[in-house]
Each structure stands twice: as C-alpha cells, then as structure tokens.
Symmetry: C2
Subunit: 402 residues, 2 copies
C-alpha cells in the first residue's frame, strides 16, 4: 500500500466501546497545513460533529481530523456542540508540541459514530486523544490502526488505494470507510476519509469530492436510512509555488481515480450488510438524464420486494420493472428491457420466455447479482448497489430493545 | 348493511384461481346509466384494464364494472389490451337482454388482479361473465359474493359502509377493497369499489374521490410498492331533474363520509399485511403544508428500520426522528417532539428520560402502534398507516421461485 506523503495516522483504544481493547479514537494529522473538502449527510437531524466539520470545509489550512467511534454525539443538544468543539481543541493543543507550525482548534475536523442520544464520555476521549498523539506515525500499520478505530458494526476493514498520474509525478490516494447494515442498537453511520498527496486547491477538491460522492457513496443503500452523522472527507496536499494545484487535465485524471476509489470503498458497505447473502448491482441505461437514471436505480434498490426476490433466487422481473415504473421520472415502457446476470427476461414491454431455473441458479451461485435495466429514452445512466433482504436482517434489527 | 338503491352485484367462480370454487369473476351493474369516477395507479408500467378504465372515467352513463381476480392482465402487450376490451364487450352484450336501455362496451369499466405477465384465460372469463349475469342481485349476500370475488391473497374480506345525510334524504355508501402484503408470487394490487345512491355529477364525483383517495388509499403502505393495477372506482346515481346533483353544502357532508369510508377500507390493507404483527399509524403535525406532512409520514412509513423496531417492541425514537429528517421537506429539529402510544420520548430536539419497558410493553400489548410526530413549523398534517417488518414477511416474499 502506497501511503501519501506528509500525513500521520493513529488509532487507539480509549474504552468508549465496551469491547476491551477495541480501538475507538483516531487521529489523522497533516505535517503541514493541508487542503480539506467534505460531503455530509443532508438529514436535517444532524449530529454536532457534522455541524462543526461542515462549517470548516472546504479549507486550505487544515491540520487534521479527530474521530471517535462508540458514541455518535447526535441528539445531544448544546452539550454535544461543546464536546465536538472540545475534541478539536484537545487535538490542536496536544499536537502543538509535536508538530511544527501554529494550529488552532478551527484547523481540525471531527467525526463521531456509534450510539445516539447519549453524551460523549469526555474523560475517555481526552485520554484517547492524548494517547493517539503519542502513537502517530506514517507506516501502513499506523494507517490500519486508524481504519480499525473508525469501525463500529463492520464485519471487516474497508480500505482502498489508487495512484493518480500527473505532470508533477505520481500521487497516492488512500481511503478508509466504515458502515454496514444495522446490527447495533441505533442507526448505522457511514464515515469515509480519503487522503492524497496530490496538490489540490480547496474548491477544486470540494468539487471533485462531491462529483465522486454522487457516483459512489450516494449510490449505495442497505436500508435506505440516511444517518445523522454520515460524512466523507478528503485531505490533500496544499498547493505551493513549487507544487501548484493540479491543472485541469491532471485534475480530470485525478477525479477519475478518486471516483474509482470512492466506488470501491462504497461497495464494501452493502457488501457488509448484516446477514446479507447478496450484493445487488443495479445498472440503469436509457433514462433522459443521469439524475433520472439515479431516481430509477434508487427506487429499485429500496424495494423490499426486489430485495426479497433476490434473497429467494427468484428472477421476478415484475417487481423490478414496476419499481422503475413508479420512480417518478419518465421511462418508455414499450422499449424497456431487463437482464438479470446477463440473461434477458423482459423486452419491449413484454416478458420473454426464459429458463427460470438457469436464472435462479445464477442468482444463488454467487454473492453479486447484476440487474441491467434499459428504459428506452435517452443517454442517462446510473449504477447503485444494495443488499438483499432476509430474515437475518430483520432479526438483527428487531431484537434490540432500548 | 344498507345497500344503495339501483345496483346489482354478483361474484362467481370461473376457475381462474387454482383453488376450487374460489370466486374470481365479479359484476356490478347499475339499473340505469350512472355516474362513475376513478383514481388509478400512477405507475408507468400499467396494466391493460387500467388503461381502458382510465379512458372511460369520469362518466355520466356508466352501466357497470366487470372484475376478474387470479390474473392481472399486466405486461401482456396488445393481446392484453384486446382481452380487457373484450371483457367489457361480453358484459355489455350479455346484459343487453336482462337490463333495460341501450348499452355499449364503452359503458363498462374493467379491473383485473392476480399474477402478471400471463395472458387472460378468456374462455374461463367468458363463462364467468355469463354466469355472473345470471346471478346478479341486490341483496347483501350478492354484495358479499362480489367482495369475495375481488380478493386474492387477502386473509379477510374488506368492506365498510356509511350513510350520508342530504337535503334530499339519506344516501347509502358501501365499499369493498382487496389488497394485502405480498404473499403470492407477484405484486399485490389494491382494488377498491365504492357504490352510492347519492346523485352526483361526474366531475363532482371525480373531485371528491381524488380528495378521499389522498387521505386514505394514498396514505397506506405495506412494502411501498405501487402496483401496475391499483384502481379505486366510485359509482353513484346519475342526477336527474327530480334528483339533482348534491348541492355544495350536501356534497361537503358526502365527501366527509366518503373519506371516512375510504380510510376505514384502506386501513384494512396494512392490517392484513402478511405476517404483520402490528398496524402502525403515523400522525404528523406541524409541517409547513399537508403535502410536506405527507412526505414525512411516507418517509417514516417506508423505513425498514422503523418497521423492524416496532416488530421488536423497541421505542427507537432515533430511527423515527431521523427518517423525518431525510424526508426532503423542512422540519424544525429544535421543536421536534415524538410520542409512541401517547408516551413522550423526544422533545425540543433532545431525547427525554422515559421508561423503556413501559413503552416496549405498550407496543407489544396491542396490534396498533401510534406514532405522533410534531415537526414544529406550521399547520400541515397527515396520517399514514403501515405494517411492521418481520421475518415472516421476508420468508413469504423470498421463498417463491418463478
């Protein structure tokens, strides 16, 4: 794994999570002021750390991010706002001694994930931040500790890396994210952090991150619930006279790599939907616009009837085609065509004869199910990823009692 | 049950459904030309009978409705269009002998519900329509036969009746509907027919039916899937010089009764969600507009996390409040307040201390769970009804294989 130059990572255990030794405080620090961009939940019920970080991006003088898992600091009122700010103050003051240059709490972002409606255990967080400062480093082991520290109900670590070529040389991109279906008591949050040593202007970074999010993290669903804490942050090298921000041509290459990296990360979330037996990829072609294609993909991805059909290995074209039909954007029924795992089931508005056993076997034989739907109008495309819906999921989500 | 004057009903078995003797062809006939209004699925993938009936309402010279269950005549191409028209022709020609006055196939509506993607068994339908014509009658037994004949996967018969008072006297309203969650192989359709002897102008009837639908059938969900066949039709007496259309004042009273009747019918559908252990009523207050309140109620009603929480008897305010937060319409988080079964859990943007066991017991103790959410902005209100989500539902919907 090729880590970007100029960043340090730490993940430590501070006892916020109940499992002994579980890492729950993370620090990512830039050796020099860096560029930061952020994309956040659009839920109006929004956690204190999101409000704070959102106000501090995009930035051209960021110094780092402090993250805790085990407690989301959401629905925590004024005390929650104070605690989020305090986390960034603790990071700034603690780092002042060990990293060169002035830094203030405004130069830090904060993320929290875990149970909602409970105040942060600030004594543990204070100890954790101190310990994380002491353990900062730039090796792969340090990076992986940070990845572990942002996880909550994840069954596996979610990381990805890419290299972007530019006229200035090679730039490393590494990313980590967390998120799965609901297995814990409260809502699952998606957090993602991408770090690169490509020199980016803050507005350039913000624009590229939003575009990448629209093709990745905004295209996944497990249960369709948008959390109060969802956050995606990009840290990049701050441009200088010697290393100016990427040119438009170089930025286009970078954006493609960033998008691919975000898609790779994002897909790992429905792939980790608890109890999920299938990762469902929904490719829409032929909508009037990409936004229309997105609406159709979303309608299918959120359909419990589609999801349960895949669980059962049932090539139920009716559920899929009708979910497209009520997405609220135009389709052309008489030119609509559907394939599951490459096998045509429906064409020109009518069902085709097909061997149900062959399709069913292909669904049962592999974790990925590919749904390709052509809606017969225009150039708009979208791809979404979701999970199936099975009894395990329901059991997980109904057996918890507050 | 007080049946409206001037209408005859029949429900017979024609062998379309596999279960021997199950009624599957229904005829409702008006002794004189009557008024008809209709509200239909907005799914763009739409069944042949819906296309035909939609083109024939509102009407001031309707003679009847012919319905079959067991086959939805959806996704059946040009042959399906021909068969839907043929059903109305068979009804008109067959009735010509037994009912006074000229009638043409255009004077009939048609509804179908059942499996999709298969051509109608027209021989059975032909026999069924003939038999239904022979069995038409105006007793309660005839009405109940018709109710049974529109059912598919319903666990129980869904009927309701009301009386509307007007300056012209009392008017009877009776309604039947069918629809449940998915237990059969394909998509569940909602069909509803309301018959009244109130004299209504066709545009008056259409306006009132749409308004009633917006507060009833448009406010229920089992799995959020809109079918290709959903239809709601109102038949009323055609006004004459002696019995003119209801005055505005009388129509307001009638509309209130019609709305109440539609709500009573509509609630029976999620109450019959297969395997459902709870009927969830979601009351929204304080949105900017009724339409905004509707969007918030829908977002909560479609949340698998809310539905599974109720299954588990979990007073999980976080899932409910956050589903409101991403509904895409404004709420005021700092004035948001939530009650479950009358117990306050959340107020002014923060969780309240509450006895989780008491709330949990109240959820477990009864089939109905009442969620009241105040969003702190304006006068907009809405009420939606949905089911919980449990392993039974998933099992039902995933075990079928085409």
């Amino acid at each position: 794994m090729h880590l970007p130059k100029g960043f340090r990572f730490a993940g430590v255990s501070a006892g916020i999570k109940s499992r002994a030794g579980a890492k729950d405080v993370v620090l990512i620090v830039s050796e020099k002021p860096c560029t930061a961009a952020g994309v956040y939940t659009t839920n109006q019920i929004v956690a204190a750390p999101v409000v704070l970080s959102r106000s501090r991006t995009p930035s051209n003088r960021l110094r780092g991010i402090v993250v805790n898992s085990g407690n989301a600091n959401a629905c925590t009122g004024v005390q929650g706002d104070r605690d989020a700010a305090e986390m960034t103050r603790l990071a700034a003051e603690g780092l002042q001694a060990s990293i060169s240059g002035e830094m203030a709490q405004d130069d830090f972002l904060v993320m929290s994930t875990g149970i909602i409606g409970r105040q942060l255990p600030m004594e543990k967080i204070r100890t954790g931040i101190e310990r994380a400062i002491g353990e900062l480093g730039s090796s792969e082991a340090h990076f992986l500790n940070a990845c572990d520290g942002i996880m909550t109900t994840d069954a596996f670590r979610k990381i990805a890396d890419r290299t972007a070529w530019s006229s200035q040389g090679n730039h490393a991109l590494v990313g980590m994210c967390k998120g799965a279906g609901m297995i814990g008591p409260k809502m699952a949050t998606m957090l993602a952090i991408v770090v690169t040593d490509a020199p980016l202007d803050r507005y350039q970074a913000q624009r590229m991150l939003q575009a990448a999010a629209n093709r990745s993290f905004n295209c996944i669903s497990v249960e369709g619930h948008m959390s109060t804490n969802d956050s995606l942050v990009l840290l990049a090298t701050s441009p200088t006279e010697q290393t100016p921000a990427l040119s438009d041509a170089d930025a286009a290459i970078f954006e493609a790599e960033l998008t691919e990296l975000c898609i790779e990360l994002a897909k790992k979330i429905p792939d980790d939907g608890e109890g999920a037996t299938h990762l469902i990829e929904i490719q829409i072609r032929g909508a009037n616009t990409d936004a229309d294609a997105d609406a159709i993909a979303r309608s299918i991805a959120l359909s419990n009837l589609v999801k349960t059909a895949i669980t059962g290995g049932d090539p139920n074209w009716g559920r899929i085609v009708s979910a497209a039909g009520y997405a609220g954007v135009p389709i052309q029924p008489k030119r609509t065509a559907l394939k599951i795992n490459g096998i045509s089931l429906f064409d020109a508005g009518e069902p085709l004869p097909f061997d149900a056993k062959t399709v069913s076997s292909s669904i049962r034989a592999q974790k990925l199910t590919l749904i390709e739907l052509q809606v017969g109008l225009g150039p708009g495309t979208a791809t979404h990823w979701t999970t199936d819906l099975n009894s395990e999921y329901v059991r997980f989500n109904s057996e918890y009692t507050t």
